[in-house]
């Protein structure tokens, strides 16, 4: 009993002496925990002292117990303080690592892109859909009759001959000019005026073909066509529709002008010009003489339009006395070229990787 008491007293003295510089040599959490275990662990010195307590006298137990508990809590407190210090230092070290090279490229599948034509087409069609037009599909290979005759092209019209349009060989018909690669998406009228009762408001889009090939003409290009047939449709509606369309696509404030023009399938017919969106004459007061896009005129031609020719309605079995229509058609390629600043139409169809990767 004496022995145990002595041992405890000695240990307590020793421990009390070490308290001021407890854990000072621990550099990491692991070291700290190991040091701590030497004192408070199952085999630690403090634990061992507590194990000796039953062996000493009761009257000393209280006093020594008090001292031992004080030491234990001091150690625990020192441990927690040191632990917090080490963790803080660790977090600090983690934050002070060398910065990563943010200029290295991101990993993954790389970038994809939509073709300027399909992207532009989607934007244009969406505008007309939001104005109440329904998108319909029309074939690319079609009867010449749908492409020309039913759209009031006079027989022998130059557009309908071998020089200007592509014809496909079809079995059965001996006429080499019976089936054509559509030269415009206006064929939508020939198809739907006959198959649906009015009123209707339709829009379509897609590839069209003409026998031209130079810097400004591609043998294949893209168009959007739309029309609205109803009672009491008038030119003023066309004006309103085009205003809304131009505002949505090219922005508010872009002026428009209708120029009388001729297409066999409309009467009255017009071409729609918008203020040049590059030199913006309405903002500067005058067009730029050097503007390569409008060539100094201040205007860009964007589409052809008009009121559906009564002959077109008649041929489709729609009475022009009862119904009138407005229609328009536009080249998508040109609008895409304006949007992307592309100067040569052929770039759109070469699919050069160096072109595609700029998109």
């Amino acid at each position: 009993m004496e022995q145990a008491q002595k041992e405890i007293e000695e240990a307590l003295r020793r421990l009390e002496a070490t308290l001021p510089h407890l854990f000072t040599s621990s550099r990491s959490e692991a070291e700290l925990r190991a040091e701590n275990a030497k004192l408070l662990g199952p085999e630690g010195e403090v634990t061992r002292i507590f194990r000796l307590f039953p062996k000493i006298e009761a009257e000393r137990r209280k006093e020594l117990g008090k001292r031992a508990n004080a030491i234990k809590s001091a150690i625990e407190q020192a441990f927690q303080q040191k632990l917090a210090l080490i963790k803080k230092a660790q977090r600090q070290a983690e934050l002070e690592c060398p910065p990563i090279d943010i200029s290295l490229p991101g990993r993954g599948v790389g970038w994809g892109s939509l073709h300027p034509i399909s992207a532009t087409m989607a934007v244009l069609i969406e505008v007309f859909e939001s104005l109440g037009f329904e998108y319909v599909e029309v074939p690319e290979i079609d009867f010449a009759e749908n492409n020309f005759g039913r759209l009031a092209f006079p027989p022998d019209h130059p557009a309908a001959d071998m020089q200007d349009s592509f014809f496909t060989r079809s079995e059965g018909s001996g006429n080499p000019q019976a089936v054509v690669l559509r030269t415009h998406t206006t064929t939508v009228q020939a198809h739907f005026l006959r198959s649906r009762p009015p009123p209707m408001a339709l829009v379509t889009g897609g590839a069209v073909y003409r026998r031209d090939d130079d810097a400004t003409h591609s043998p294949m290009f893209h168009q959007i066509d739309g029309f609205w047939v109803d009672r009491d449709v008038c030119f003023a509606h066309l004006h309103g529709l085009m205003r809304a369309f131009v505002e949505r696509i090219f922005g508010a404030g872009v002026p428009i002008r209708f120029r009388p023009s001729y297409f066999p399938f409309v009467e009255p017919g017009a071409e729609l010009d918008i203020g040049c969106t590059f030199c913006r004459p309405w903002e500067r007061g005058a067009p730029s003489e050097q503007c390569k896009v409008c060539k100094g005129t201040g205007w860009l031609e964007v589409l052809g339009c008009g009121m559906i020719h009564p002959l077109v309605l008649e041929m489709a079995g729609v009475s022009p006395k009862e119904w009138r229509g407005i229609a328009w058609g536009m080249g998508v390629d040109r609008i895409a070229m304006l949007r992307y600043g592309i100067s040569d139409i052929r770039m759109l169809y070469e699919n050069d990787m160096r072109f595609l990767e700029q998109l």
């Binding site: 490229p105 599948v109 790389g110 994809g112 892109s113 939509l114 073709h115 034509i117 399909s118 989607a122 069609i125 859909e129 104005l131 109440g132 998108y135 319909v136 690319e140 290979i141 009867f143 022998d156 071998m162 020089q163 592509f166 496909t168 060989r169 080499p176 000019q177 089936v179 690669l181 408001a201 590839a207 073909y209 026998r211 043998p219 609205w228 109803d230 009491d232 008038c234 030119f235 003023a236 509606h237 004006h239 309103g240 205003r243 002008r257 209708f258 120029r259 009388p260 001729y262 009467e267 009255p268 017919g269 020719h309 009138r324 169809y349 070469e350 699919n351 050069d352 990787m353 595609l356």
Partner: protein, 834 residues
């Protein structure tokens, strides 16, 4: 159509600037594409008289010319190849003058002689393309010292007008002037002399015919009057030529007049200059008159040398097979049975309405002419000129349709001009054969109909009437109320009330029509279009770049791509390179890969959504198949991982990702012996959807790669989109299961298997052995090489075990693992890797 603003101003009496005229015409639908200004640049050029000349004392080939410039004498040095007639009036540019082409004239020294200014060539004065000195005949010259630009009336502006095909009337200055008068709200009353003079008496009655010839100041316009003199000329020859129209469908009227005592020689300056500005070279007075009439009236006429025609009559007929003609431009063409010609007794002398023959052409020695004023059927002219690849000022106008009613006017005007210019004595009574005449068009409409069509209730009726009248319409009240409008013969494009509404709108200005936004009930967006848009965006988000290719390509492209060779053919391709419609997306994509490799860009991830075209036994002979093509070529772009090229599994990710995004399940079917010809037979698979084959994904067949000279082995896919879209439109979001309530346990197994054993069969065996407790099987690694037997592979799989209703114990998992290993060994001959 080129138009001279001076001419338009003279005819319409509108005093407006070229810019204003251009703006107004454009607004009225006659688009002016360019304005070319002439004579405005020239400064300091005067008329001077040549007083003498001498050779240059030192330099051969040069002459010293003494001129009088109205104030003083000057010496000018010039080259001597073009001699100047004595007393010639020339254009002299004083030092400091500016020429048509912008050059400044200075004082130049030639040896000892100082040249004060220069004597201008026709080209330098801007009155022709010729290098010879500009000389005015002395009798017609303005006085020396006159400002050349003013005295010669050189200032003019030429408009390039894009005349739409419905407006033949705008193909001449008269028609344009009428249009301008209507736009400017001025009466239209052009002063044109249509009275030929030249009294012709028959030779039997008197020996000499008395001719009044107008002696004109050459600077005056033909419409202005001037003094006349009398001259007697003897005429020998016929007074008329019989005309027969055989091809009555192609020629509705033909007027032929004989003109005698033809005197060639240059036309007066005003005529030559204006023709030059309009792009027509001045030739000879008679020919110049025919061109002048064409530009003035828009009606082409033709002059035959009467002595070169073989009598007794001329015939308007279709050519016979095998007939040939040498045209004015020297080309000889073989005629066909669809070509309309003017023929004499020996054969064709002109390609009607397009170009005259060389043999019967007017020349310097021409003494008498037959002047043709006719109307030819537009489609006939169009077909012939297209067939022979000819396009002339004449064909352009006949093709659009000239005004048949105007023929007598044109004839009188031409004869008047000929007689007034003194280049011939016309026999005033010609032969006029009229086969048919069309009735004037009458349109019944009203101001309310016009207002209704245009949507502008505020159009004043007075104004609308005035516009129609100013365009030549005759207006009278219709019995039923409203208007009875008789359309003038020069506006055959007006046939319906809508046409008249357009006339009123375009002359008033389209900008006056109000804007009313249509109220169209909104509809559901087209689901197919939306879906297609989603597919496009999904593919782009996968890192694929969209391409668009031509629908046509060469048969060879199909062949070397292993695409179906039975294709829809174009009847009239631009070239064999683009003569068939594509039957497959593969050649288009391969052309892209090839281009990439050629231009040092050997990597790409591409797709295209478009049509393939397959021959079919339908009336159209073809069906269009909406398809998707994908091509992956070159290395996978990653700066950390191992370097490798895109392979089948990269393609598989794209396809599976697409299907999953559409809530569809793709089924892969091995090629066996039926791979598409473009596909490597062992490195690809068919793509199926609900048991239906819709396409394939594979590495390129080495033969195809070689045929396209590719150094890489692209991964290609082609599939039909319509079935995919049909199913996608029906697809629903997947049902969501509740989250598992018990934890799963994961174990990894490295199986050594024969290389022919697929992952799918391994997974099947694992699932069979483990039953419902196998929640998931993943591949972690695939290895062949050192440590693995020949023709074997090591496949590391991770299996996730889970019991739906309890936590699995270690013992249960151990047991499952043993059962799996045993089954893989029994069924697949697989062993666990040591």
């Amino acid at each position: 159509m080129k138009a001279s603003c001076n001419w338009l101003r003279e005819l319409s009496r509108i005093k407006a600037s070229a810019e204003e005229i251009a703006e107004k015409l454009t607004q009225a639908g006659l688009e002016v594409e360019a304005i070319h200004r002439h004579g405005h640049e020239i400064k300091g050029v005067y008329i001077a008289r040549v007083e003498g000349e001498s050779p240059h004392p030192e330099q051969r080939g040069l002459r010293i010319v003494q001129i009088f410039n109205g104030k003083e004498r000057q010496e000018v040095v010039m080259r001597s190849e073009h001699p100047l007639p004595p007393n010639a009036s020339v254009a002299w540019a004083q030092p400091g003058a500016r020429l048509a082409n912008g050059t400044e004239v200075g004082v130049r020294r030639f040896g000892k002689v100082e040249s004060r200014g220069m004597i201008l060539s026709e080209a330098e004065l801007g009155v022709s393309d010729e290098a010879k000195p500009f000389v005015v005949p002395p009798s017609e010259s303005p006085p020396a010292g006159a400002n050349a630009v003013e005295a010669l009336d050189l200032r003019d502006e030429i408009l390039d007008i894009a005349v739409t095909p419905n407006r033949p009337d705008a193909m001449g200055h008269l028609g344009l002037a009428r249009e301008l008068a209507a736009i400017f709200r001025e009466p239209f009353a052009p002063r044109l002399n249509t009275q030929p003079f030249g009294v012709v008496a028959l030779p039997e009655e008197i020996e000499k015919a008395e001719i009044k010839r107008k002696d004109r100041s050459w600077l005056l316009h033909p419409s202005s009057a001037s003094a006349t003199t009398t001259k007697l000329v003897l005429i020998q020859g016929p007074l008329s030529i019989p005309i027969q129209i055989e091809a009555t469908e192609r020629c509705s009227r033909y007027i032929g007049n004989v003109v005698h005592a033809v005197e060639g020689g240059p036309s007066p300056f005003w005529m030559r200059y204006r023709l030059y500005l309009l792009g027509q070279r001045a030739v000879d007075r008679v020919v110049d008159v025919t061109n002048w009439i064409l530009f003035e009236t828009g009606h082409p006429i033709h002059a035959f040398d009467l002595d070169r025609l073989a009598g007794p009559q001329i015939t308007v007929r279709l050519a016979k097979e095998g007939e040939r003609i040498v045209l004015l431009d020297g080309r000889e063409i073989a005629l066909g049975k669809d070509d309309l010609v003017i023929a004499d007794a020996e054969g064709p002398v002109a390609l009607a309405g397009i170009m005259g023959g060389k043999e019967s052409a007017v020349s310097g020695g021409t003494k008498a002419i037959l002047l043709e004023v006719a109307h030819f059927d537009p489609p006939s002219i169009r077909r012939t000129r297209r067939r022979h690849g000819l396009q002339t000022q004449s064909s352009e106008r006949f093709e659009r349709g000239v005004d048949a009613e105007a023929l007598p006017f044109v004839q009188r005007r031409a004869l008047a001009l000929i007689s007034h210019l003194g280049c011939g004595i016309p026999v005033p009574f010609g032969v006029d054969i009229e086969v048919r005449r069309s009735k004037p068009t009458v349109i019944f409409t009203s101001i309310n109909e016009v207002r209704g069509v245009l949507g502008d209730p505020s159009i004043p009726e007075v104004e609308a009437r005035r516009i129609l009248e100013s365009l030549g319409c005759e207006m009278s009240p219709a019995e039923s109320g409203g208007w009875r409008v008789t359309v003038p013969s020069h506006r055959s494009d007006l046939a319906r009330p809508e046409d008249l509404a357009e006339e009123i709108a375009r002359i008033r200005g389209y900008h006056l029509i109000p804007a009313v936004l249509p109220k169209i009930p909104s509809k559901e967006r087209n689901p197919r279009l939306q879906l297609l848009e989603r597919i496009r965006c999904t593919l782009a988000a996968q890192g694929l770049r969209e391409t668009i290719h031509f629908a046509f390509l060469s048969p060879d492209d199909l062949k070397r791509s292993g695409a179906p060779k039975d294709a829809v053919l174009l009847v009239n391709p631009l070239s064999t390179e683009r003569s068939v419609l594509r039957t497959s997306m593969i050649p288009s994509l391969l052309s892209c890969v090839q281009r990439g490799e050629r231009f040092d860009h050997p990597m790409g991830r591409l797709f295209e959504i478009g049509k393939r075209y397959l021959p079919a036994k339908t009336p159209l002979g073809a069906i269009e198949v909406l398809s998707l093509g994908i091509a992956l070529f070159g290395p996978v772009r990653d700066w950390l991982s191992i370097k490798r090229h895109a392979d089948f599994y990269d393609g598989k990710w794209h396809i599976e990702h697409l299907f999953r995004s559409l809530r569809l399940e793709v089924e892969w079917q091995a090629f066996d012996d039926t791979a598409p010809p473009w596909a490597h037979p062992r490195k690809g698979a068919f793509i199926q959807l609900k048991g239906r084959r819709i396409g394939a994904l594979a590495e390129i067949h080495p033969d195809v790669a070689e045929a396209w000279e590719l150094s890489t082995r692209p991964i290609l896919a082609e599939l039909e989109l319509s079935p995919l879209m049909e199913e996608a439109l029906k697809a629903h979001p997947p049902p969501i299961h509740p989250l598992p309530r018990y934890p799963s346990i994961v174990r990894d197994f490295a199986f050594v298997l024969h290389e022919s054993v697929s992952f799918a069969s391994l997974r099947t065996e694992i699932e069979e052995a483990g039953g419902k407790l196998v929640a998931r099987v993943d591949v972690l690694d695939l290895y062949q090489g050192e440590g693995i037997p020949q023709a074997h592979k090591s496949m590391l799989v991770r299996i996730e075990f889970r019991h739906p209703d309890s936590t699995l114990t270690d013992a249960q998992v151990e047991d499952l693992g043993r059962r799996i290993v045993q089954r893989v060994a029994e069924r697949l001959g697989g062993t666990l890797r040591a």
